[in-house]
Amino acid sequence: MSKTTKTGSLVDAKKMSAELFTLTYGAFVTQMLKDYEDPQVVTAKLDKIGFDMGTVLADDFLAKSANVPRCQDCKQIAEVLSKLAIPNYLGVPATVSNWSSGDREFSLIIESNPLTELVEIPDHLKATLNYSQVIAGAIRGALEALHFKVYAVAVENASNTEIRIKLDSILKDSLPAGEDY
């Protein structure tokens, strides 16, 4: 997900062309819309896919960033997400805003969401399809792997993507996320 260099070849073999990524995601969502015929089902599927990605990403994140302290409250979660996790995995910065419900609910604003570059969502889908829900799902999955149960939903605004996150509870169970209870 990095920008290509001027010569066109990618510096890091592990990174992929941003355009290829964006277009592939677009084609993927389009295909899902054709297959499921219901935008709300597609949103739910994207959330599930994101969730599964998130549980794996949480491990990767912890392995890479050893000096991040354990989060105690929502403020710290928001800080780590916006300053470390999102820039690391999405390649763009995010800002935190719109605190509510006693600091248990906040928004992450992603100004130039790579998923929505080159993308125009048709009017009739705007209300029912959360195009970037995969990001919200990934956040939910990653936090659940770290024992924070949250609700996350991705909303497309005119100029940015807003991910609304609400902390529900801190899980006490020590079973890893994704396992059957």
């Binding site: 010569t7 992929m16 062309s17 355009e19």
Partner: protein, 159 residues
């Protein structure tokens, strides 16, 4: 099983019109591989459109294939192709010794049998890119050992 349904219900070939809808459905019902391929086609088409807008005019088929192998390949798959051969009769063999979409597999022959589904998407990308540059082609991929891949581009004759 749709085919079975049709085959059983049609006794006389003249009756096929009656089952027109069913026949259409059977054809529409594509498998995962063709769906991935068509997703790739769309992606490749748009990518080629974006990448070729500043390119010099292509005069020959070979120039188009070269563009795909150099600029397009390095922008999309991160590197240029390693080998390009042609029989000068519309068949090109493109070899990439370290194909970006296969790098996550272990280097061996262990998975070569199951790799087809992973190559459907990039094959579509290449076919779409060629189509964008007004070359209709059949693109097939073969893998002998990972992550080396050979694409056979069979270009259609210009009318």
């Amino acid at each position: 099983n749709r085919w079975k349904e049709i085959a059983e219900s049609i006794v006389d070939s003249t009756e096929i019109d009656k089952y027109d809808q069913l026949v259409k459905q059977a054809f529409m019902h594509s498998n995962a591989e063709t769906q991935l391929e068509s997703m790739g086609y769309r992606v490749g088409f748009v990518l080629a459109e974006r990448l070729s807008k500043d390119a010099a005019k292509f005069n020959t088929e070979l120039e188009i294939v070269k563009f795909i192998c150099k600029e397009f390949w390095s922008n999309v798959f991160g590197k240029q192709v390693d080998n390009l051969r042609t029989n000068h009769a519309g068949v090109y063999v493109v070899q990439d010794n370290n194909f970006s979409m296969l790098r996550t597999f272990s280097d061996s022959t262990q998975f070569t049998k199951d790799i087809g589904i992973y190559l459907a998407f990039p094959s579509g990308v290449i076919r779409g890119a060629l189509a964008c540059l007004n070359v209709q082609a059949i693109v097939t991929a073969t893998v002998e050992s990972l992550p080396v891949v050979k694409y056979h581009l069979q270009l259609a004759k210009k009318a």
